[in-house]
Amino acid sequence: MQMPEPDQAVIDRRETICRDLRELVAADCVIDSVEGRRAYDADGLSAYRQLPLAVVLPETVEQIAAVMKYCHSEGIKVVPRGSGTSLSGGALPLADAVLVGLGKFNRILEVDYANRCVVAQPGVTNLAITHAVQADGFYYAPDPSSQIACSVGGNVAENSGGIHCLKYGLTTNNLLGIELVTIDGEILRLGGKHLDAGDYDLMGVMTGSEGLLGIVSEVTLRILQKPATQRALLVGFDDTGSAAKAVGDVIGAGIIPAGMEMMDGLAINAAEDFANAGYPRGAAALLIIELDGPEIEVNTLIDRVAKIMDSAGASSLKVSNSEEERNLFWAGRKSAFPAVGRISPDYLCMDGTIPRRRLPDMMVRMASLSQKYGLRVANVFHAGDGNLHPLILFDANQPDELQRAEDFGADILRACVEMGGVLTGEHGVGVEKRDLMGIQFTEDDMKQQQRLKCAFDADHLLNPGKVFPHLHRCAELGRLHVHKGKMPFPDLPRF
């Protein structure tokens, strides 16, 4: 993965820059030692590492603004970072960029039950929002699997999902307001405790913009009343096609479960070895279907779903009759990644989405790719919304296996787009999928997206080298083909 050529002149000024930054924030909030910076050299995509130029940990929004203003006027790049759990390298440092960590923004500012929202600083963890309101029966719906560690500011940057987003939506659907610091140090509030923008939905665009448009310095999140009951079904199938069809049948019957997860044979056995959750070892596919809501509704729908599963040819079916049992059903799924970690020295976690009806085709494709690359793949899916998480097993100590695994992953994502889907359902593009963007988008599509970037950050100082495979100068992007002619857009070199 090639990153933009670092600006040696900036690197040479490192000491001066750190001294200047200490004028803007408390002296101990600038980290410039090698050991100190080492802690920030990667995010959840740990195959890539880079020491940042310096790490700044501002404590107030005014300090974020001052740091941004300084970097903007000095032409220094900025990489924002929440908890560093991105799986796509969104917070990967650059050698010539100041890493702005939001870790000190860790306070919940207000719990407002009258307006059913929580106002929080961006470094608060996702799960801490629910913890702050659960005694009163409320919760925050988006639940990415990293929720114990990932920050809500990072959730906004990545538009994080989770297993319940089929029914409750992604971050973007649960966000009411943000405070944003732009690269030139302006502090703007978008949205609030009311609904809908009434002007351009800039908050909607900020959500999922992967730190390229601004730094989120405060969030206002919608909270919901916790459902009265949750129950789950654990259903085995002898073939993945029947399982995929069963998922469609549930939705076709007008039922939207809180979550519908699917695992393939390799994942089932790895999870069962790890968690002893009572998964059917011989099955080719396993569905975990969770329903939530009023008790009588859940009980009725559980029966309806069970009938649908029978008709779809389920080979085994269990229904949870207690919270313990429901949690056990989930224990295997939730430990799928560490479980796979036990059967292989390393794995790559992919994240594409396909129209659900193409799932059987995708399974066939993956099996043939698995043979081609000589690597195994275990599959866990958010089946309800077609979001795939193939885990490609490899051994980084074998000379070419990382490369083969990456090529295998790229082929899976190509297949996702070819089947009518997209490169990433919830992990983001970051650096991981940057060079694959051209599979899904034309140059014109990407240029239009980058023009929007220019409206926020005309000098490409915020998180460059992420999301877009080519950097175009804003002046070039702004030129018009007035005469339908072929005004040349000389691309900057690919990095």
Partner: protein, 396 residues
């Protein structure tokens, strides 16, 4: 009027307009022409020909169609599979004095959402992807045809509610949802607006899952044929499968002795009148729509009653206020200062009964920093101000 049949046509028209430095208005059925600023255009582009369902996969909850498709066609298509657009598209033709609910493109362009917006999200939450032509005359697409997608910037959000000032879309993909089996409503007589807002907040803090909540003053409720004692009626809607709705209603009826139930037909009819703002259609004067923090509604309404004579009702648990009151700038200015004193929000002039738009911006004005950013965003899509220039804000 220039009728275009596809994006390539539109590209040629936009290219010409750029060359000749013209401003173009964009319309299909023009049912929402009254919304936003009155801007003058050199030509109108008509995109009514961008019509038809392209692909509907009910099991995938995905509908792809052209933006000029009339809403009645969208609704009948969805009804064939017992599905819906969960954001509950309002049909404002009575208060806008237009012929129909218009097209899906118009709905998306103004991000129009009805009562279920409170719990299910807005139009912008259901647009998954689109193909469009920018004000630069260039084709681009964004998003996708799947439910879960974070690839690239979420331009679907930006394009929704942008009043056609950034791009003209053709193919749009929407998320659909199954229609609930049934619905009923519960009416809670309250002494005043504060009590009604608090009652609704209390029910939202229970596990009974209301999915819409409105507040009607007695006289407005009477217009809807609902005659229940109490100065202010808090109304919640329960939707879902029969046994669930019946069970939740039974719990609430037992807990609140004063509560009155409306059965399915009456409930459906009432929420349609709330959604479409029929309840203010016969009112004199201007009609405003105000989005605020729900708990701020009583203070805002009280401030306005100190100064003006007007009718109103609330949707979205108090977070959406519909007001019919005096023509002119003062009414809207008072709303905007009341909002500024109560956690902000936005007030929009929906029906101008006189010449109010000459005196007050119909959309909530932007701060200078927001305006500058809006202008740069506009320029990123439409640098020569070809499309619907000035429709939302002067200069944008």
């Amino acid at each position: 009027m220039i009728n275009v049949t596809g994006l390539d046509d539109a590209a040629a028209v936009i290219a010409d307009a750029m060359e000749q430095q013209q401003h173009l208005g964009v319309q299909a059925m023009a049912t929402k022409a009254a919304l936003g600023r009155d801007a003058n255009y050199d030509e109108m582009i008509n995109v009514s020909a961008f019509s038809g369902i392209i692909d509907y996969q009910p099991d995938e909850l995905i509908l792809t169609l052209r933006a000029g498709t009339p809403m009645h066609e969208v609704e009948s298509t969805l009804a064939s599979a017992n599905q819906m657009l969960a954001f509950e598209v309002p049909d404002l033709h009575k208060i806008l004095a237009s012929k129909s609910a218009g097209t899906i493109g118009g709905v998306l362009a103004i991000n129009a959402s009805g009562p279920r917006r409170l719990t299910a999200g807005a139009a912008r939450d259901y647009l998954l992807g689109f193909d469009a032509i920018s004000g630069r005359g260039e084709r681009f697409k964004s998003g996708g045809k799947v439910m879960k997608n974070v690839t690239g910037y979420d331009l679907s959000k930006l394009i929704c509610g942008s009043y056609g000032t950034l791009a003209i879309f053709d193919e749009v993909t929407l998320k659909t949802l199954p229609k609930p089996e049934t619905n009923i409503s519960l009416l809670f007589p309250c002494d005043d607006l504060s009590a009604a807002v608090a009652r609704i907040a209390g029910i939202f803090a229970s596990p009974h899952e209301p999915n819409a909540a409105a507040i009607l003053p007695q006289a407005i409720a009477a217009k809807a044929g609902v005659n229940v004692a109490g100065a202010m009626l808090a109304i919640i809607r329960l939707e879902g499968i029969d046994v669930s709705v019946a069970d939740r209603a039974a719990h609430l009826l037992a807990a609140y002795k004063e509560c009155v139930k409306l059965d399915t037909d009456a409930s459906t009819a009432l929420w349609q009148q709330i959604r479409d703002v029929d309840l203010l259609a016969d009112a004199d004067g201007d009609i405003w729509k105000l989005s605020c923090a729900p708990a701020s509604a009583p203070a805002i309404i009280a401030t306005l009653f100190d100064q003006f004579d007007f009718q109103f009702f609330a949707d979205w648990a108090g977070g959406l206020l519909w007001l019919a009151g005096p023509s002119g700038a003062e009414f809207g200015m008072a709303m905007r200062s009341a909002l500024a004193a109560n956690f902000n929000g936005h007030a929009q002039l929906i029906r101008d009964s006189g010449n109010s738009k000459d005196a007050i911006a119909p959309l909530q004005p932007l701060s200078s920093a927001h305006y500058a950013l809006h202008k740069r965003v506009k320029s990123a899509f439409d640098p020569r101000s070809v499309l619907n220039f000035g429709r939302m804000h002067n200069g944008i």
